[in-house]
């Protein structure tokens, strides 16, 4: 199995480490590739778009011609997990909490609307134990860093993680067939359950 991590910027090596650990735990002979060029997108079984600055990642992806091909591949059915900035890139609608409309280039392949910096700035970043549908009953330590939130979803998308934030229900994880969007960072814990879920339930169908 070959899984790519979009490698322009952000928490790339953290995902590489978590994927390697998951392969080891599952006893799968897998390979992790850092993707920065269009030709590296061929022969992948899945791809992770890591956290970082979504403007930077999308500008670089467009400049290196990765963006268009990646969009095609995802539409054709390449399983994808978007984390934080990755979730923003997957979304069809994006607004920013402070400045409103943004003009950044996006993939726009998933039926979700995302608000950037939903919870505020770095000062308001937090961590919280949450329970995710489709995983198991054990709580997952979710780390939210200048995180976005999924404010709307439609079509085949279903929310799989909802948190209670200051009394309101906020969707922080959603799945649409083989596309997974998370607004928190599973790679900042040693818990590989989400990466294993991506490998076992979303890639190996």
């Amino acid at each position: 199995m070959r899984i790519g991590v979009l490698g322009f910027q952000g928490g790339v090596y953290e995902h590489v480490y978590m994927l390697k650990k998951s392969f080891h735990e599952l006893g799968i002979n897998g390979k992790v590739l850092i993707v920065k060029k269009p030709q590296q997108l061929h022969d992948l079984d899945g791809i992770i778009i890591p956290g970082g600055e979504s403007t930077t990642i999308s500008i670089l992806a467009r400049k290196t011609n990765v963006l268009e091909l990646l969009r095609e591949k995802i539409v054709e059915g390449l399983p994808v997990m978007g984390v934080c900035a990755g979730a923003i890139m997957l979304a069809k609608e994006v607004v920013d909490q402070v400045v409103g409309e943004t003009k950044q280039p996006l993939l726009g392949v998933m039926d979700i609307a995302v608000t950037r910096n939903y919870f505020g700035r770095q000062r308001e970043s937090f961590e919280l134990d949450i329970v995710l549908d489709e995983l198991d009953d054990k709580p997952f330590r979710a780390v939210f860093i200048r995180a976005p939130a999924i404010t709307k979803y439609w079509g085949a998308t279903k929310p799989i993680g909802i948190i209670n934030y200051n009394g309101e229900k906020v969707v922080v994880a959603a799945r649409e067939n083989n596309k997974l969007a998370l607004s928190f960072h599973p790679e900042l814990t040693s818990d590989t359950r989400i990466h294993r879920y991506f490998i076992e339930k979303i890639i190996k169908k």
């Binding site: 322009f8 910027q9 500008i59 000062r123 970043s125 961590e127 860093i145």
Partner: protein, 351 residues
């Protein structure tokens, strides 16, 4: 030979333990500070205290503090002095901006006391862009740092570019929930800053000169010392830790990882895409560019080119393409470091 060097470097930027292990280590380091304080051995400045026994409050946890710089990796943080420059930086693909009153080049020219930027300018920048906003405080200036924390900047740089207010001590950064950046010239200095709670280290270089030589020297010193210590016995590491004035465990973790346990950026004199790619080649996780962009006559193209070269540093063809986007005639005029008087050097402030 070169290939081998590169391999060493690329593997050096990979944590061979999970981020979790690193964070747990920092919790232990913070707890030590907490215990020392309870024993009355550690003097606390400022009105706020550490969270009660590190029981993981919701906001401002160590994981959140040390996690934030991880998402800056592979990117470029640009020095800006106003909203317009911040806009250029965001459009070019910067991962964050650093708000300053004057660019280091102008600090050098104007002399006098350099302080933190106007609160009004920082606020305007925060309200106009979506990427993180950082700001600099003087070394040892707790109140400037508290003000910026209250304002809500994403990261604070305790910087030698501004005039230091404490000749002997740096800020105790464990007292803050906002993550800190500190400069370093060698491994000892970097690890001392980490012991004080810095979440991101940058090489000091010689800011505002347009000459990357000092940044190269500092990065090679840090990476070289780590590689050298890999082949030493524990008793030698204990001696080195004592010499540096840091806990042995921190040195040991650094040597085991083969890199600094926090994110490490390059700074000081980066002026072209090639400079930025060179620093990445030497093992930096990302770069800070100050005067290099807004003191050149093609800031828009140069900012874009440096972002491209930093991310794609391991692909010479793309770096070439980035280098083509700029013209050497438009680069900032450099200052030869050898022509600076010893008292004009910024890098020697705060060790």
């Amino acid at each position: 030979m070169f290939q081998q060097y590169m391999l060493l470097n690329t593997s050096a930027r990979l944590y061979d333990v999970g981020f979790d292990t690193i964070v747990n280590f920092f919790y232990k380091l913070a707890e030590t500070y907490d215990k020392l304080r309870e024993d009355g051995l550690f003097f606390i400045y400022g009105p706020e205290k550490l969270p009660d026994r590190i029981t993981i409050p919701k906001q401002g946890t160590l994981r959140v503090k040390y996690g934030f710089p991880v998402f800056q990796k592979g990117g470029v943080c640009m020095d800006v002095t106003n909203v317009e420059q911040a806009g250029i930086a965001e459009d070019a693909g910067a991962v964050s901006v650093m708000v300053l009153d004057k660019l280091p080049y102008d600090v050098r020219r104007s002399g006098g006391v350099a302080r933190m930027a106007s609160v009004r300018v920082i606020e305007e920048v925060m309200n106009s862009i979506t990427i993180p906003v950082m700001a600099k405080v003087r070394i040892g200036h707790y109140m400037e740092a508290k003000i910026l924390e209250a304002l809500g900047v994403d990261m604070i740089d305790e910087s030698e570019v501004l005039t230091p207010v404490d000749e002997k001590h740096h800020i105790n950064k464990w007292l803050f929930t906002v993550p800190f950046i500190n400069g370093a010239r060698d491994l000892g200095e970097a690890l001392r800053r980490i012991t004080e709670g810095a979440a991101l280290i940058r090489t000091k270089g010689e800011a505002g000169t347009g000459n990357v030589a000092e940044a190269v020297r500092h990065m090679k010193l840090i990476m070289g010392d780590i590689l050298r210590l890999r082949n030493t016995l524990p008793e030698e590491r204990i001696r080195v830790a004592r010499e540096y004035g840091i806990p042995y465990e921190l040195l040991d973790l650094t040597v085991r990882l083969g890199r600094l346990p926090v994110v490490n950026f390059a700074a000081g004199g980066i002026a072209t895409p090639a400079d930025a790619a060179l620093m990445m080649w030497l093992g930096a996780d990302g770069v800070f560019v100050g005067s290099g962009i807004f003191k050149s006559s093609d800031p828009r193209e140069r900012a874009e080119a440096i972002v491209l070269a930093t991310s794609m540093w391991d692909d010479p063809e793309t770096v070439l393409e980035a280098q083509r986007m700029i013209s050497e005639q438009k680069s900032m005029m450099g200052i030869d470091i050898r022509q600076l008087k010893p008292e004009e050097l910024l890098q020697v402030r705060g060790t």
